[in-house]
């Protein structure tokens, strides 16, 4: 195998339509670029996280959250009691805005003071992967981050 075996080309000329098509494509691309220089990108969805980074529940609706608590499977009241004031080994959810009652969650709250309730309820993010959930379901598999924000907003209304 020592002999050059080129592929021949019929012609080296560039067809006029190809030049026209290229110029047209560049013009269209240039116009699109010039008219889209500014805008808002959504937060990058990091793989392994359940969705956009959860934020404080400022924009969420407590009324929606109250309804979702009843719709959850299982409902929050089945473990935390009919009025969410705690029963058996399950802690009260009243006053969660002041911080977690469980020792298990102190580190999580210290590292994420604004979002620890959201992260704990969600349960699917790496932040809570090493925590003993003690039977608490991962509600991130049932609810969107916005819905969990509403649940948190409702819990924060409990005295």
């Amino acid at each position: 195998m020592s002999v050059k075996t080129p592929i021949e080309t019929r012609t080296m000329r560039l067809p006029a339509w190809a030049v026209g098509l290229t110029v047209f494509a560049l013009l269209v691309g240039g116009v699109y670029f010039a008219t889209n220089l500014a805008g808002d990108s959504p937060p990058f969805a990091i793989p392994g996280a359940s969705g956009p980074a959860p934020g404080p529940s400022g924009g969420a609706d407590p009324a929606v959250g109250e309804a979702l608590i009843a719709q959850a499977a299982p409902p929050c009241t089945s473990c935390h009691g009919p009025d969410l004031a705690g029963q058996a080994d399950f802690p009260s959810l009243h006053g969660v805005a002041e911080g977690p009652k469980s020792e298990n969650l102190q580190d999580l709250a210290a590292a994420n003071p604004d979002t620890w309730i959201h992260l704990w309820i969600d349960g699917t993010t790496p932040d809570t992967a090493d925590l003993d959930r003690g039977g608490m379901p991962m509600f991130g598999e049932q609810f969107t981050p916005e819905q969990i924000d509403s649940i948190v907003a409702y819990l924060e209304t409990l005295p």
């Binding site: 195998m1 020592s2 002999v3 050059k4 075996t5 080129p6 592929i7 021949e8 080309t9 019929r10 012609t11 080296m12 000329r13 560039l14 067809p15 190809a18 030049v19 098509l21 290229t22 494509a25 560049l26 691309g29 240039g30 699109y32 670029f33 889209n36 220089l37 500014a38 805008g39 808002d40 990108s41 959504p42 937060p43 990058f44 969805a45 990091i46 793989p47 392994g48 996280a49 991130g140 598999e141 049932q142 609810f143 969107t144 916005e146 819905q147």
Partner: protein, 495 residues
Amino acid sequence: MTVNPKVNPKKLRPYDTPPKRRRSLIPGAPDSAATGFMAAAGLWFALAAGLGVLAIALRIGEFKINFPLGLFELAFQLDERRVSAAFVNATVYGWLTNAGFAAIAFMAPRLTGRRLVGEPGMNIGLAIWNLSLLGGLAALYVFDLGPNQPLTAMPWLMTGGLAFAALIVTGSILATIGPALRTAYVSLWFAGIALLGLVGILGLIATVGLVDWFFHFDELPLALFSAFVERAIPTLWLLGMAYATLHYVVPRAAGQPLASGGLAILTLLAWLAFAPLAPLATLTDPSIPFFIVTLGSVATMLLLLPAALTAANLTGTMRGRWSVLLGPGPAAAAFVAIAFLLASSLLAGIRSLTDVAAFVGGTEWDNGFFIWTMYGAFTLAALALAQHAFARTLKRAWSPTLLSAAAMWLVFIGATVAGVALMGGGIAEGAFRAQGAAPADIDAGILGYRAVGFAAFGLVAVGALAHLADMFLLYTSARPVEYAVAGAPAVAASH
């Protein structure tokens, strides 16, 4: 056989017999690297397709298997994310990259008229590449994937092995084609630049992984880098190799010269201008200036241009030889690949629009698009070259068989239907998401799309097995022949 009557054979001692010819531990015969890479690619093709079927199945009915390994708190975990990562890596680094290395190892000597420089080195590269990849895939099931996309999820040591192997291959190829580069056929330019792109990206991944090992980057920059690379490898490496392959196979399959050398060079320049910029479109985060994302979107849209120019040029090359497309040969596979290339370039352009990206980003759309690009465009281009080249490297007579027809049609039908089903599922998923539906409801809503995708991708897996069996039977059963390598113009298009 003549016998010397003066020699009594019974009195011959071992040192009287001629020494046996020793075979080198590392093969270095002409075309040994191309044959090795092609065989490895075939095996990875079957494995990757099987993993793809499993990945879709795990999205239909999710389950996790966790085997504690007892050492260093490691655990073997079989979940959807890990299986999907293995599927993507086996497809990109296993099947398509081995096929790409095989293609360039096959084309370079034939287009330059020179023997491949460092063929034994290429074979060492083949071993390092595939062993690193096997180690990397095993590691995917053990270590935490972090914020990485699949192609950057392997530990840095394994990616370093891949980068080293790619460097060996690149060195060998550049040493072969370098002296003839000024007048080289366009396929060598595509392949050479694509190889350099691959080495650069792999080196970057390994370096970032190594630095992260010691200093731990924040999740966001690591995730953005990972997303950039996830798009850069297909646009720079796989797309470049697809163009190189198609510009090589079609004139030979048609037995006619390339329609326009000028058009091929314009295609090369267009790809070279837009491919490095297109991955910028993935950097959608408030921390990245918006015009950079727009630049990436525009480049992604403009990648339709080289696809269209290639389609026109190679269609012109086939003029008067359309009957070649009717059989299951390299030409038919190449033209199906061109059709997929056009369609997937168009879809990538649409997907890069800001509103569309927000609607279908992170949904099943991306999985369907992956199948269309990898198993439609790139796989069929690789199959075209394999059908053309494998018989030549093994010096066997190739003729269309039921298995070669089955491989092409099953991959074509399977990839088409699976891609459409999953992209349709992605649109439905986007609609559910916009309504604020719960994840469980979304999963239930797109179950049908996933089921169709699962069944259709099963056909791709069967097609991969048919390709493997076809290669095996070609090696074991086909009639040995010698292929002419003379450089006369009359036979130039027959290699």
